[in-house]
């Protein structure tokens, strides 16, 4: 489906200016979305910084019916595990097919949803509560994505944590489903504290890991053949009913399922969790090394609201945060999937809505090292400059292939090119490109490189226009959020 044309949108003047100039709304649109579009920037400018952000923090208020209608054509996304099992009964490779469908839907949503900030938070929590796997996990992850990550992405952290602890996909991926009193499995217990809540350095011990594992014995799922297959169930017969001590707090014997709930309360509301999530969110949206004043303030909001995620993100994406960290000057690298989706968005590209077409796009993100739901370890894809910043050729290859129409699943129609260049003086074509792709945030030097490339070609036709767009999307200026 085509993205809305941007021809009728007036964009702010000054396309060639460096990013040193402060424009909070432009910065917000870059950071809160999967890629700048002139249309979204114009809306945000018209609404004002706070109103646009607050609307994005209330995704139910945003009409996304076009995307929802497209997703409705993929019935598997709404099914329970039992329904999925029935739909794919006896089919070889069903797990891989389902994985591809979910991956493709992820890219379609990131690229085209009007609820862009929600999609960014889905990206955040998908990494935070990372789950990977084929076989049964492929089925269970469909439900986890819908009922855990997407449902609670801007909701209540304790509810999100609890939903994740009871998610069939998580229970299988980190082995708690088979953890029994006689021989507890520590895998989930450890990552629950290390990755999902406290973080290492918060002072918990190996003893705490073992005690939390004991508290969570018996947290499992209904087995295959049961009508509620894959859904959470507490099995009292495999639960360790003895007394436990977690983080110095005694948990009396005989607590049953409540042991685990008590642990989740302790962890969700622990100051180390508030601090750690605040820092992680600030890094995600603002900069690699956010000021401690900002992190402290965000952590305080998280604590004061008992883990209200929307309120916490509101504090992250605030003018005060932008001012404290001079965020408009901070270079934060888009990870490859974000770069790919962002390039499609800002160039005015369109996505296929067929599962097969979308899977071609998934394959491209895999080539870039960043396919959705494809990170094997429980820590999620890293969000670090050092990890991603040296692998550039796949970005250049993606931008080139996108504009060459060489990627099944995503195309940039000629109309989108006309919207960029028609009526623009030959010497200002690169500047127009900067405005269209970034709201004028490319550096003058990068703009000059694109203009020099255009000028070096004997004529300016559709092919050169496409190469110029691909080149602009390959340069450093377009790699930042």
């Amino acid at each position: 489906m085509p993205l809305p044309p941007s021809t009728s949108i007036s964009v702010p003047v000054g396309g060639d200016r460096p990013p040193l100039l402060r424009d909070d709304t432009l910065t917000l649109v870059h950071r809160a979305t999967f890629g700048y579009t002139a249309e979204e920037h114009a809306r945000a400018t018209a609404m004002g910084f706070e109103a646009w952000r607050d609307e994005q923090l209330d995704p139910a208020s945003i009409d996304d019916s076009q995307l929802e209608a497209q997703l409705a054509a993929i019935p598997y996304l709404g099914m329970s595990v039992a329904e999925l099992a029935a739909a794919f009964a006896g089919q070889n490779g069903a797990d891989n097919e389902l994985r591809r469908i979910l991956q493709g839907a992820r890219l379609l949503r990131a690229a085209t949803s009007k609820r862009q900030l929600l999609e960014r938070m889905v990206e955040f929590w998908t990494d935070h509560f990372n789950i990977y796997g084929d076989g049964s996990i492929a089925f269970l992850k469909v439900v986890d994505d819908r009922e855990v990550v997407r449902r609670h992405a801007l909701g209540d952290f304790r509810e999100l944590l609890g939903a994740s602890a009871k998610s069939g996909a998580m229970l299988v991926y980190l082995d708690n489903a088979t953890s029994v009193a006689a021989a507890p499995n520590e895998n989930y217990s450890r990552e629950l504290m290390e990755l999902h809540t406290l973080g290492t350095g918060a002072g918990y011990t190996e003893q705490d890991v073992q005690e939390v594992a004991r508290c969570l014995t018996g947290w499992t799922i209904y087995p295959p053949g049961h009508p509620s297959v894959g859904e959470f169930v507490f099995n009292p017969s495999t639960h360790d009913n003895g007394a436990k001590v977690v983080l110095g707090q005694s948990i009396a014997a005989g607590g049953g399922q409540q042991d685990g709930e008590t642990v989740l309360d302790l962890l969700a509301f622990h100051p180390s969790t508030a601090r750690r999530l605040a820092e992680k969110l600030c890094v995600f949206f603002l900069s690699y090394d956010p000021p401690s004043a900002t992190v402290d303030r965000v952590a305080a909001v998280f604590t004061a609201t008992s883990g209200d995620i929307a309120e916490t993100v509101r504090a992250v994406l605030s003018r005060q945060s932008f001012r404290e960290g001079r965020v408009w000057q901070q270079l934060k690298l888009r990870r490859p999937m974000h770069m790919a989706v962002g390039a499609i968005r800002s160039a005015g590209g369109t996505l296929s809505t067929s599962p097969q077409g979308l899977y071609e796009l998934v394959a491209v993100t895999k080539f870039m090292g960043h396919a959705p739901f494809d990170w094997p370890a429980p820590n999620g894809y890293p969000d670090a400059l050092g990890a991603w910043g040296a692998n550039l050729l796949p970005r250049w290859t993606f931008a080139t292939a996108l504009l060459d129409d060489a990627i099944a699943g995503a195309t940039v129609p000629n109309a989108a090119l006309l919207a960029i260049f028609s009526g623009v003086a030959p010497s200002r074509r690169a500047g127009a490109l900067s405005r269209h792709l970034t709201g004028g945030r490319m550096t003058p030097e990068d703009v000059a490189e694109v203009q020099a490339f255009i000028d070096s070609q004997s004529t300016f036709n559709g092919d050169v226009a496409r190469e110029a767009v691909a080149l602009a999307l390959s340069l450093p200026s377009t790699q930042w959020i």
Partner: protein, 421 residues
Amino acid sequence: MKKDHSCEEYEHLSRRGFLGASAAAGAASLLFPRTAFAQGARGGLQRPCLVGIFLRGAMDGLSVVVPHGDANLYSLRPSLAVPAPGAANGALDLDGYFGLNPNASGLLTPFQSGGLAFVHACGSPDPTRSHFDAMRSMELGQPDQPATTVTSGWLARHLQAVSPAGTGPLRAIALDPLLPRVLAMAPATLPIPDPANFAFPGNPASASARRAAIDNAYARTIAPLAPAAAASLDSIDLLDTVDFTAYTPANGAVYPASKFGAVLRNTAAMIKADIGLEVAHHDYGGWDHHDEQGPLDGKLAGMLADLSAALEAFHLDMQGMEDRYVLYAKSEFGRRAAENGSGGTDHGSGGLMMVMGRGVQGGQVHGAWPTLAPAALDEGDLRVETDYRDVLAEVLTAGIGGTDLGHVFEGHTPTPLGVVL
């Protein structure tokens, strides 16, 4: 804590300064003994290529090189232990005490021919049982302590400490999409998952103009993008000189048709093409088997078969060229001595390291063995008797030919082991 040299390194490695980097490394090269090496075909030193394999997730060393002579193994792991040699599915005996998992039979020939060494009960002094803290500590090359300010990887510091072996743009390659922390801030280093497909994209007619624009633009941006862009553009031409497609392994070696098989095959092709490659690194993940571990017929068995088949092929392919590489494989830690209730094992301590290539004293299971006796265990885990840095120190000195160990493993005085001589 001494300051990290790495940011400074990056400054030197911006596009225009790239060739000047060898001059910057001049002081460090005084520490490097040049005597052992012939001139490489491209005019530089011919240094053996260090091939590093990180088995992420904590490989269960006790199921790979099985201490069948330690009766405690069978009481700790009633359902998981690999049986002693002679029993059904029994281990392949190595020395009367240790035996090889039958799924790793590909390692038997390299071991028995003296090319492959094991170091058991090996690991980090950092007591963490967190994968991610343990990996971080191992990649930085020192225990993770609050005072640690080092952010560069130990392999990166090795490359900083020695003069480049060749004149090429690619001293080190990570055969992965992401640069691992062990190579963070390494000079002339790129993550390239598939070096056989590393071409500048798009219309050939406009390629030089587009390349020039990219080259110019990235020279002005920040590290690591700036040096990576320069190295990428130069490596396109360099890797084009390696005929990966027609590469025929020597001695009839057959690599498995797996990702890891391709990694080692491509590594052999690059070493033989003499492109100045000093380090090839690969992350081989998936060893975290908390449930249904299956050392004989399950997940671990399948992974071991792949690992050992690829290592066997590489060993055979490089036979007669052992002076051209040193390979090591290791994990962040080993696994709990006792099995858990899920048919798997939780996080442990002492693990297993494998070393192959130049100077390696193969055919032996090195390292003191603490036993699995209850009193010998470290909180239920195989005790670390050998510091992984002691093995790597020998790899870097006797194996690769020298480095500045004080820079690479600052604060650690290696104990001689005799694994690489």
